[in-house]
Assembly symmetry: C2
Homo-oligomer: 268 residues x 2
């Protein structure tokens, strides 16, 4: 019988594939658990809620690979800040759960191409349309369609209850700049539009009055452009789903699952 | 006949009312125009688009007071960065328009109470329910109602096409923590919920996986809480609308208007 890999073995496999250096400090770390623990099963997820960890345990998995952190912030709380009540209760239940939690954020964004972006491209059915992968974006030439048609197709592909757009719904696009996660700021998107490398930006999340405002003003100057915002989770979940498939190839002797939370936000 | 105030006189009146020091550097500055120009009319607005400036001119106003900047970013472009094509065209048309543009952001947030927050409270019909104004939030005790009812009432009051919520739509709330603009991050909202000073956060804009994630996890631990996100513009426009009323009292001899853009984002 094949011996079970340890938590550290899985972490090493997940972080070996980087093509550029990690930021200092990186948020990628073992948040809960012991690196020497033999892994009985793996769950990947975007948001490691307590419920996801409990579901992992009931599936017999004792390692959760989450893309985001446990405590409602990109960076871990500093030592000086007091621990909140909800954070303390969640941490205590996690520590008692015998499930390790590793955060895989910076490393997977530094796969070549970015593992999160590549997962989103695949889920959108756009893998055949890639013009170029860059560090923080992907340029694509998709079949020409209206903003409304493209957004509606994306909603279906990603199973979204709603999607937000800026620009004219009937304007037709084919040159897409895709940016997963919180990469929707003008610093990243506007150069793609200004250079005409993309007419349509599709991003996860970004500040409300940067890219949407640029699109509005640029359209009034006759520039053909548009924007589709997917939501942060919606744009990064497919990358973590795809990671589960890759892990099941790397570790064929242990079960690997992908778990996804309900959306945390709804429209009224 | 009363002489017309200069642009600088109006700026001085707008910035005299601060109760705390401005950040260094402040974004509040005369972006277009000459401080010595006599002011024939004033327009206040949240987002000084070219269209708003052109409407101001056709109303005979030659000073626009905008809350946000002209070029799709909170901070002005640094001298080293090249000017984009849309920015250049907008700047050239603004410079040719004979309308001055002043940005009033940091100062109005430092009125006591915050002029943007106070305008939002008034527009929501909540002025009688204020428990306490703080630097970055307002605590209120509103009549008890469900999250759905409160959100629906807010939609009507602010004329919003949609509103986003986190939490159970039928949960009943009365203790509100209100944060206008981009103050929806967990650093500002979570302490209000942890301290039980508020059960329901109402904010303009914030990162998707901070406050909404906290609300989800806290509810699962039995904590009564919820969230309503208005949108950045929707949360700050009322403050700029209210400023127009204040300016028409300060400068009764010149016309003062409030102009508002259409939403830059829509839901599909």
């Amino acid at each position: 019988m094949t011996p079970l890999p340890t938590v550290q073995t899985v972490i090493d496999a997940l972080t070996a594939n980087r093509h550029t250096a990690l930021p200092e400090p990186t948020v990628d770390q073992l948040l809960i658990g012991d690196p020497g623990t033999p892994v009985t099963g793996i769950v990947t997820t975007f948001m490691p809620t307590l419920s996801v960890v409990q579901q992992a345990r009931s599936l017999g998995a004792n390692l959760v690979i989450g893309h985001e952190g446990l405590f409602f912030s990109h960076h871990e709380r500093s030592e000086e800040s007091p621990e909140g009540e909800i954070e303390r209760m969640k941490r205590q239940q996690l520590e008692a759960s015998d499930v390790a939690v590793f955060r895989l954020h910076d490393s997977i964004h530094r796969y070549c191409p970015d593992g999160i972006t590549e997962g989103l491209v695949a889920k959108l059915g756009w893998s055949g349309y890639v013009r170029e992968y860059r560090a923080e974006s992907c340029l694509l030439d998709i079949p020409s369609a209206s903003l409304r048609e493209i957004a509606t197709e994306i909603k279906t592909r990603l199973g979204l209850p709603y999607i937000t757009i800026s620009g004219h719904p009937e304007a037709v696009f084919s040159r897409v700049g895709l940016l997963a996660g919180y990469r929707g700021g003008g610093t990243l998107t506007i150069p793609l539009l200004e250079s005409k490398e993309a007419d349509l930006i599709v991003y996860g999340e970004g500040p409300e009055w940067e890219t949407p405002e640029y699109v509005r003003e640029a359209m009034r100057f006759g520039r053909h452009c548009g924007l589709i915002a997917l939501g942060h989770a919606a744009s990064e979940e497919p990358g973590m789903e795809r990671l589960a498939e890759a892990l099941s190839v790397l570790f064929p002797h242990i079960p690997v699952h992908y778990l996804q939370e309900e959306p945390s936000i709804r429209i009224l």
